[in-house]
Structure formats: structure tokens, C-alpha cells
Amino acid sequence: MAKSQLKASIIIWGAEMSDLGCTIAGIETINPFWLASAPPTDKQYNVERAFAAGWGGVVWKTLGEDPPVVNVTSRYGVHKDMARGILGMNNIELISDRPLEVNLREIEQVRKNYPDRVIIGSMMAPVEEELWKELAIKIANSGVHGIELNLGCPHGMCERGMGSAIGQVPELVQNTTRWVREAVDIPVFTKLTPNTTDILLPAEAALAGGADAVALINTVNSVIGVDLDQMAPKPVLDGKGTHGGYCGSAVKPIALHMVAEIARNAATKDLDISAIGGITTWRDAAEFIALGANALQVCTAAMLYGFRIIEDLNDGLSDFMDEKGYRNISDFRGMAVPNTVNWNDLNMNYDLKAKIDQQTCIECGRCHIACEDTSHQAILMQVQADGSRKFSVIDDECVGCNLCQMVCPVPECITMEPVDNALPYVTWPDHPKNTMKSAE
């Protein structure tokens, strides 16, 4: 490894941090941040660097029976914004392409070197009870804290009847989970695929199979882009491409939804959740915890910036907790769950109006054209005598949709102000305009 040129930095003092320690599936971790099963957790070298950087745990890159799979080259594709920001990436990699024994010996070694950190063994096998059980036992014997079933890989492995091919069939989710549950006495995590219409079906199946926790989401099936010269999907391998697994910031909203559904569903609400999907900043982490996650996993953000992002994840989460007065993670875990409701439980009488702060408005016109062309024609543009333009909201037309606030480039320039209409909380089922309303 190349040595940093940095002179030994002399930082003499540390600051106090809130307690980030927490427990998931009965496993204690010094902080909620684990690296998800993927290249960052592929081998001892990476994992020890991650632990040295401060990560609380890792889910080792998914292990299969020997002989190991063979990967192609050209493995990732990217989805960027118009600057250089990466919104998401996809990959067409398979599971670990190193011999099982090598992986297991390395796991044993890292467990010795870092006794206070968590290692979960991720695994996948064809749908045969014996194969799942044999592999689970081998992995458990390496000293891992738990086993994670990879039922989510949406490319390559699914063509061999594994990964999402299992995760999309609740019965198979239940069976594989049960097999592992029966084979080992350490906690079992079932990792779910988002490539399904109702996440509750596989989640409930995992619970029925005896999972201690669910981990979600795995990657989202995707074509990341098309090379218009080669006329092939990216990443292009010798003129051809295939669909891959999408991850990174862009998938966070999908993951948040699925985590919330499991956390508020009566049957699964007590299931521990290891939340994954686009976690990049401490704020993302806090959001998942607020929606019921017990702990978190990160892959893409670490791949894009390196393991050092753990510093801001830890530090930022701790500062947030200090500011709010939460002493530990469980103090605010799930606090947003009761407020996550069905559309039919929302207050139809709640009213918001956009308000433009004329002092900070830079007259770009984005709010106006967004509302004028595509929403409710509620922002008036008036050209003034001096040629400047004044933008103001027509309250009677504004439906409070937030579009103008979203497009406005100036922070806090457009605010959404609640209207104090003194009307009661009325949901759609009780609403006077609801013709389907059950007659009382």
C-alpha cells in the first residue's frame, strides 16, 4: 500500500460522542454501520482496512459452493447528474469468485484480529436443502456472528436459479431461511430483493422461516444506460450488455419505503431490520433508523469515496443525536413509523400555500415556469418598470404541491406555509365529497 504523504497529523484531543452502540438480531455492534456484502467486503485486506477506519461490522461478500464463479470484466455502469455527481451505479458482478476455503480462513483471521467487530457470512446456493445446510454450517464454523441469505442478486445468479430467483418466490424464501435456521444456532438474516411487487410477502415468508432479521434492499434490476455508438446497454462487453443491479443514492427512496412497510406491518413489526440502499450520509442513516431500522449496511457510498466516510457517518449521527437529546439509537428508532400511514389516513383539510421571500429571490423564473406549464398557474410573473421581474404566489390557485419550492435554487426562498383554516382532521373515507363513503 502506498504511504500517504501526510505528515503525521498531530491531533491531541478528541470530543465526546453519543453512544452509537446498538444491537441487531441479538448481535452487539459498536456502531450501526456495517459494510454490505459486496466488493468492499470481498477479502481480509479490504475488511481489515474497513475495521481500521472504524466500521462496526461487515457482511462478507456472498459465498457459494466451490468451484467459485467466474466474473466478466467491465462490471459497473454509472448514472450521473449533469455535473459530476453520481446518482447511482449498477453492476453485473456475481458472488465471491475466490475459493470458499480461502474466504473462510480469512474470516477466522479477521475475527481474531478484530474481536469487537461483527462479521456476518453471506451465502447463496441452488435450491436444495442439503446444499444450503452444508454451506451454512461451514460458514458458521469460521466464527461469523450470523448468516445472511443472499436472495436478491438480480443478474447472473438468478439465471442459475439463485439470488432474486429465490427471493421473488415467498415459498422459497421461507424454505431457504428455515434450512439455514435449522442448520446453525447463530442469528439468521434474510436479505430481500426489491424486485418484487409487495415486499411484505417475502418479509413474512422470512419470518415464517425463522429469520432473526431481514436485510434490505439488494440491488434494483436495471439497464443503466445505452452506448449509442455501440448500440448496446452499458456496461458494454465486446458489443453486448445485460441488465444489472442498481444501487447508490438513487435507490434510497425505494429502500426507505420497503423498510417502512415492514416496520409498520402488524405481522413483521417485531422483525429486526438491517437497512440497506443508498445510505451515503449520516442523515440517510438517521432516516432509516427513524423508519425502524435496527442497524445499517452501506455499499456504494464506500465504493465511491472509500472507507473514510465512516467518520462523517459516525460523527454526524452522533451530533444529530446530541442536538435532539437522544442518548442512544433506540431512543429514536422507529419514531417515524407511527407517522407513516396509508393515503386514506391523511388529513384532507390540511392546507399549504407557497410563499416567496422577495428579499432572497434571484428572479430565475424556475418556480413560475414549473407551475405555469405543469401545475396550477399559481405563480405570477410581473415585469417591473426597471426590467426586473417579480414572482408572487396567487394563493387562490396554489394547491400546495411543493413543486416550486423543489425547483427554487435558493435555500429557504420559497417556503410552504400552513393555512390556519381551523378545520378538523378529515380523512378521505370521511370526506363529504367521497361518493363511495359508507352510509352511516
Binding site: 500517504s4 501526510l6 498531530i10 467518520e311 454526524g316
Partner: protein, 448 residues
């Protein structure tokens, strides 16, 4: 040099409001939008060149990322744990020769990240709220360290030692703390009472007491101190202003530029300060530039900065030279002062043109006269040798080892009074940190 009165022709004076405007923040703080956009430009480089170029090695990519993720307090902690005077440094560092010069975007986009502005954005709210709880003191060690001089070097050392659990007694010759942060940095860099507020923040850690009007060699003595305390740190800066040693230097209107700046910094009402109509500043360093710009901003009709070598040899950076030019200062190079003329009061100055030949500065015999009613001398400061006793010096500065220890066991030194690097605030802070580490180790606390 005593301060001498100058005639001010009242009509040409600037209005008080204009002067207030002239001494407003040179670089106003970023608003939230600017900070967010600038932070999002940073590439979060690995082993970042900007960090290597910072004498205090602030983890710049980390604090900028913390700003980008909305963790401003964390950003402040990252900065201040490497540089407790991150607030002053954000205002005063010549970033054009430090972090920003090395920012990879200076290469990539011809537009480096505005690191100092982001640094200020993170630190200012913490200083405003005096949130000293950002740092916690280690359990008390029962050891006491004496620090001479409450400038950036002394205060940085004091803070680090206090965090490590030691007791710190500071002896300061002047009546206020802060050293040149309080008396020397340009007024438009250090607006309002920032220097004082920053010191208050630094002292907020606890365990540090300061005695004012106590000078080494006058009120306190090294040998006595060594008997009473466990270690001593000397951060006295450079007290002596060098003089020109030419005739006319004692005429009214001839003044040491540092004194001129100190008076300006301490003035309650800058419009009441005396300023000449035709001002000459002698020197080529930052002090000369600062004095010239501030003279202009106070309302001098013309300010001519005269330097005996060329612009390229000036200590002042190109950016500072440009700032002087945009402020209307005339930079006159290759001219050396011969004498100052006048009856009781300065009226003009005689110079001789110089040239460089085979690396040697030569006088050409070509003389010229410039009219002047005020002359500010800024040709450097030097160490007050007479108070140093047995301390060894090298090239006119106190000699120290890698851990900041002088030739006298248990006596450490740092800042402008040692030869550690450039005479900059940020270097003084780093020196104080290194010495604190050295002292802790010396006292048996081990390596930190």
C-alpha cells in the same frame, strides 16, 4: 519610535461612514447557498494535496464533506481539533500559497475550492456560541506549565495542554491577549472583536489563567519560573521593529508601520485617526502591504510602497500585491531609502535606484525625491535578544528541536520567535501544538 502628530487637512478626510465601509470584511462570509454549492464542488480527494499544504494539516476534505452533509458542528470540530485558531486562519491565511494553491481544482478547473471561506462558515457559529464543549479536558495531571506570550503560538499551546489535563499560567506583556491577531492583522481581515471572541472561546476549555502586563525579562524571569512550574513555553513573537538607520528617521510623521496598524486595530473610531495626504511605506512584506492598504482606506491621497528589490522578490504574495494595486497603492520597486527630509516634520524622502547584478543588489547612484507627509517603516521585526538569557539562537531566532524544546531542558518555544517556517498565524498555531505534544511527552505523559 513615539507616535508623532500629523496635520490633517480636514476637507480631504473621508466621512466616518466611508471609513467604516472601507474596513468592512474583505471577504464577507458565505451564505448557506454559497457554502452548499462550494462544498459540493470539492472532490473529497484522498491524501489530499490541500491538507499537505496546510501547516496544521486540517482534514480539509473531511470538513468540507461534513458541511455538504449538513454536519456543520462536526466540520468545526474537525477544523478546530487540528487548528484551534481556525477562525482567524480562515480570515488571515494567505491561502494562495497554502491549501488553495495546492487544491487539485486549481489545476483541473482553474478555480480552487474556496477553502478558507468554507472554514469560516463552519467555525464562526461555534465561536459565536462559545461552544467550548466541543472539547473535553482529560483528568487533571497536577502539572503546571508557564506560557510566555498570549499570541497564537502561546494560546494554541495553552489550549492543547489544558485539553491534556495540565494547568496553564500565561504571562502576557500587553494588556490584551491574542498577540498579532489582536494588534497586527489587517483590520479588514479581522472585523469587529473577532480576535477577542476567539480567545474567549479558546480559554473556555478551562485550566488556563492569564496575567496581563507581565513581561518576560521585566516582571517574570526564566530561572524563577523554572523553579515554580514543570515546563515553560515561550511564544513572544518578534517584538523589535527594525529601523532604517538613515537620517531623518526621528522627524514627525515617521512611524513604525506595526504601531500604525496596532493603533488602527485598537481605535474605537477610525475616522479620528491621523492620516497623511502623501504616504510612503517602506518595505516589501505583508506588513508593508497591509499598512499601505490601510493607509489608503483611511483616506490618504496617495500611498507609495517603496521596495529596494523587485516585485518578484517581495515577501508579500502576488495576491496581496494585487490587492494593494486595486486599492490604489503605487508599488515602486528597485529603490532604496537614503534619507528623510523635513524641518520638524517629514516633507520628502530621497531614494536611490538599485539593480540586481549576479545576484547582488547594487546601488546605481541614480537618486530621486518623493514628497511625503507620513512615512511608515515596515522592514521587518526581530527578536528581543536582551531577554533571552541562556537561550541559544540561530539566524536571529530561538533554536528548538523537533519537539519544540530549546537548549534549556523543559523550556520550549514556538511561533515567530523560532525558525519553523513562514511567520504566519497558522504556523504559530502548529508550533504551539507541537510544543504541547513535546511538553506532554517531557512530563511523562507519553506520545500523543
Amino acid at each position: 519610535m513615539d507616535k508623532q502628530p500629523i496635520d490633517n487637512t480636514k476637507e480631504s478626510r473621508l466621512s466616518a461612514q466611508q471609513i467604516t465601509r472601507n474596513f468592512d470584511d474583505l471577504h464577507p462570509p458565505l451564505n448557506a447557498q454559497q457554502a452548499g454549492m462550494e462544498a459540493s464542488r470539492c472532490l473529497f480527494c484522498y491524501d489530499a494535496p490541500c491538507v499537505i499544504a496546510c501547516p496544521t494539516a486540517i482534514d480539509i476534505p473531511k470538513f468540507i464533506r461534513q458541511i455538504a452533509t449538513g454536519n456543520d458542528v462536526g466540520a468545526a470540530r474537525t477544523i478546530l481539533s487540528a487548528n484551534i485558531m481556525g477562525g482567524t486562519c480562515a480570515r488571515a491565511c494567505p491561502t494562495e500559497i497554502l491549501c488553495e494553491q495546492k487544491c487539485v481544482l486549481a489545476k483541473g478547473e482553474d478555480h480552487p475550492i474556496n477553502i478558507s471561506a468554507l472554514q469560516r462558515h463552519a467555525v464562526d457559529p461555534v465561536i459565536a456560541a462559545a461552544s467550548s464543549h466541543l472539547f473535553a479536558r482529560k483528568p487533571e495531571t497536577g502539572k503546571t506549565i508557564a506560557i510566555i506570550g498570549a499570541g497564537p503560538a502561546g494560546l494554541s499551546c495553552a489550549h492543547a495542554l489544558a485539553v491534556l489535563g495540565h494547568d496553564v499560567q500565561v504571562f502576557e506583556a500587553r494588556e490584551k491577549p491574542g498577540g498579532l491577531n489582536e494588534y497586527g492583522l489587517a483590520a479588514y481581515k479581522m472585523v469587529n472583536d473577532f480576535a477577542a471572541r476567539e480567545v474567549e472561546f479558546v480559554l473556555g476549555i478551562g485550566g488556563i489563567s492569564i496575567e496581563y502586563n507581565k513581561a518576560l525579562g521585566r516582571d517574570v524571569f526564566l530561572e524563577q519560573l523554572q523553579e515554580k512550574v514543570d515546563a515553560v513555553f515561550i511564544g513572544i513573537g518578534l517584538g523589535n521593529a527594525n529601523s532604517l538607520d538613515i537620517t531623518g528617521e526621528s522627524l514627525n510623521g515617521v512611524q513604525d508601520a506595526l504601531q500604525f496598524i496596532a493603533d488602527l486595530r485598537q481605535a474605537k473610531d477610525k475616522s479620528a485617526l491621523e492620516i497623511g495626504q502623501q504616504v510612503i511605506v517602506i518595505g516589501g512584506g505583508n506588513t508593508a502591504i497591509d499598512a499601505a492598504i490601510q493607509a489608503k482606506r483611511l483616506g490618504a491621497n496617495s500611498v507609495t510602497l517603496v521596495y529596494r528589490r523587485g516585485l518578484a522578490q517581495m515577501g508579500a504574495t502576488a495576491w496581496e500585491q494585487d490587492l494593494a494595486k486595486t486599492n490604489g497603492v503605487v508599488l515602486l520597486e528597485w529603490s532604496k531609502p537614503l534619507k528623510i527630509q523635513g524641518k520638524t516634520k517629514v516633507q520628502s524622502m530621497v531614494f536611490e535606484r538599485t539593480k540586481l547584478e549576479n545576484g547582488k543588489l547594487l546601488a546605481t547612484g541614480d537618486e530621486f525625491v518623493l514628497p511625503a507627509d507620513q512615512v511608515l517603516v515596515a522592514i521587518g521585526q526581530s527578536l528581543e535578544n536582551q531577554i533571552l538569557g541562556d537561550l541559544k539562537t540561530k539566524y536571529g531566532k530561538i533554536k528548538v528541536g523537533d519537539d519544540g524544546q530549546t537548549n534549556i531542558c523543559g523550556v520550549f518555544a514556538g511561533g515567530d520567535c523560532i525558525a519553523s517556517g513562514e511567520d504566519l498565524t497558522v504556523q504559530a498555531v502548529q508550533d504551539g501544538k507541537i510544543a504541547a505534544k513535546g511538553i506532554h511527552n517531557y512530563l511523562g505523559g507519553g506520545n500523543v
